[in-house]
Amino acid sequence: MQKFRHLKGVTTLELAREKCIGCRLCETVCPHGVFVVAEGKAAMADRDACMECGACAGNCPTAAISVKAGVGCASAIIHSWLTGEEPSCDCGGGSCC
C-alpha cells in the first residue's frame, strides 16, 4: 500500500500512550500498519496511513486510542451534506459497497 497515499496530516487518530497495556490488538486490526508495539507500548509508526476506520479504537480495551471514525467516500459525504445524516456506505450510490 506504500504507493497509495492520500492527504497528509489530516487524520483525527490520537494515542494516549500512558493508558496502553501493550495488548497488540491495534497492531493486529489496523489494515495499514499504523501501529507498532515495542517494549510493551504501542506507537504510531505511520500515522498518515490512517484511514479512520476505527478498528483500533473500538478494540482497545483501555480506550487509549481515539479517532473520529467514518467512511472516506465523497458520495457519502455529499449525501450527508444534503440530508444532514451521518455519512455511511448505504448512500444510494452504493459504489463503496
Partner: protein, 332 residues
C-alpha cells in the same frame, strides 16, 4: 447436518454457474440490495465440536468468496445479518458489530455446538466489533483472521497466526479495475438526463435552433461528457498510482485536461470550444475521480472532506465557464 443445537445446513465450497452470473451482475450493481443469504450457522465439510468457527456477513458475494476458499476444510461458519452488505462496509456502519454478533451467537446456540469458545473474525470486521466486549458478554474470545479469505487456509495451518502481509489491505490494478463498472452504473441516472440535455443545448445558435448545430455541437458535447465519465470513473481508478498529486480530484483533473488537450490537437476545434472542452472534461473527470475515494481502501473521511471543500468550488466554476464559452462559441 444434526448438531446438539438442532439441524445446521451444510454449504458447498463449489460455486455454481448462477453464483458466477450473480457475482458478475453485482459488479455492475444490478439488484445488489437483494443479494443475500439467510443469517445463522452453517457447516462446511464435517465439523465437530472442536472445529473452528468463522464469522462472516450475509452479502452473498461475501459468503461465496469465503466458502470457495474452504474446500477440504471442516468448520463452522456463522453468518451475521449485515443487511446484505459486505464485512468491511457493514463493520463501518456497525451492522457487522458486537450487538449483532452477540445476537447470532444466542440465536444459533453455538455454545451447544462447539466445546471451544473462540471465534475467528475477518480482520476487516474489527471496526464494528469490540473483542473485549464480545468476550465479556458471551464468553467467546475473538481472534482476528486475515483480511482476505484466500489466506484463511494458511492462517489456520500456521496456528491462527497471520503474517504482516495478510494483515494489510491491497489495491492492485485488477482490484481497482473490477470496481469500475459499478462506478459507471452509479453515474447512469445522471447520464440519462445529462446526455439529452447537452444534445439539445447544442442546437442553440445564431439561427435560434438548427438541426445541423444540434448534430455537430450536440454530439461533440455528449462526447466530451462521455470522455469525462470514462476518465473519472474508469481511467483514473486504473491509473491511480501513476497520476500526479495526492488528491483524487487533482488526479482526475490532470487526466481529463490531458485527454481534452490531445483531442483538441487532433481535431482543431475553434479556440473557444477547445477551451470549453478542456475545462469541462477536467471538471467531470475530477468529480468522477473524487467519487472513487469511497471505493478505495485507504482514504480517510477527514482527507476526503478536505479535498472536497477545495475541489468542488473549482469543479463548479470550471463547468460554468465551460458552459458559457461553449454557448458563446455558437455565436462567433
Amino acid at each position: 447436518m444434526e448438531t446438539p443445537a438442532g439441524p445446521v445446513p451444510r454449504v458447498s465450497t463449489e460455486l455454481r454457474p448462477r453464483d458466477i452470473v450473480g457475482r458478475w451482475l453485482m459488479r455492475w450493481g444490478f439488484g445488489r440490495n437483494r443479494y443475500r443469504v439467510a443469517p445463522g450457522l452453517y457447516a462446511v465439510g464435517n465439523p465437530d465440536a472442536e472445529a473452528p468457527v468463522l464469522v462472516t456477513a450475509n452479502y452473498k458475494m461475501t459468503f461465496d468468496a469465503l466458502r470457495r476458499e474452504l474446500t477440504g476444510l471442516d468448520l463452522w461458519v456463522l453468518v451475521l445479518d449485515t443487511k446484505g452488505i459486505n464485512v468491511w462496509c457493514a463493520a463501518g456502519k456497525g451492522t457487522f458489530g458486537t450487538a449483532e454478533l452477540v445476537a447470532q451467537l444466542a440465536a444459533s446456540r453455538l455454545e451447544k455446538v462447539t466445546r471451544h469458545r473462540t471465534l475467528i473474525l475477518p480482520q476487516l470486521g474489527a471496526p464494528g466489533v469490540a473483542a473485549h466486549e464480545v468476550k465479556r458478554q458471551t464468553g467467546f474470545g475473538v481472534v482476528y483472521g486475515p483480511v482476505r479469505a484466500a489466506d484463511l487456509r494458511e492462517f489456520l495451518a500456521a496456528g491462527r497466526q497471520a503474517t504482516a502481509a495478510m494483515r494489510q489491505v491491497t489495491f492492485s490494478t485488477g482490484e481497482r479495475l473490477i470496481l469500475t463498472p459499478v462506478e459507471l452504473t452509479g453515474m447512469g441516472k445522471t447520464s440519462l438526463w445529462a446526455i439529452p440535455a447537452l444534445f439539445l443545448l447544442g442546437g442553440f445558435g445564431p439561427g435560434f435552433f438548427s438541426a445541423a448545430a444540434l448534430t455537430e455541437r450536440g454530439t461533440a458535447a455528449v462526447l466530451v461528457y462521455l470522455a469525462g465519465l470514462l476518465a473519472g470513473c474508469v481511467l483514473t481508478p486504473v491509473l491511480l498510482p501513476w497520476l500526479p498529486g495526492r488528491a483524487f480530484a487533482a488526479k482526475g483533473a490532470v487526466l481529463g485536461a490531458a485527454l481534452a488537450l490531445i483531442g483538441a490537437l487532433a481535431l482543431h476545434p475553434p479556440l473557444l470550444t477547445a477551451v470549453a472542452a478542456i475545462l469541462a472534461l477536467a471538471a467531470l473527470a475530477s468529480f468522477g475521480a473524487m467519487n472513487f475515494t469511497g471505493s478505495t481502501p485507504f482514504t480517510s473521511p477527514s482527507g476526503v472532506e478536505k479535498e472536497m471543500r477545495r475541489a468542488i468550488p473549482l469543479q463548479g466554476a470550471a463547468v460554468l465557464i465551460a458552459g458559457g464559452l461553449w454557448l458563446a462559441a455558437a455565436f462567433v
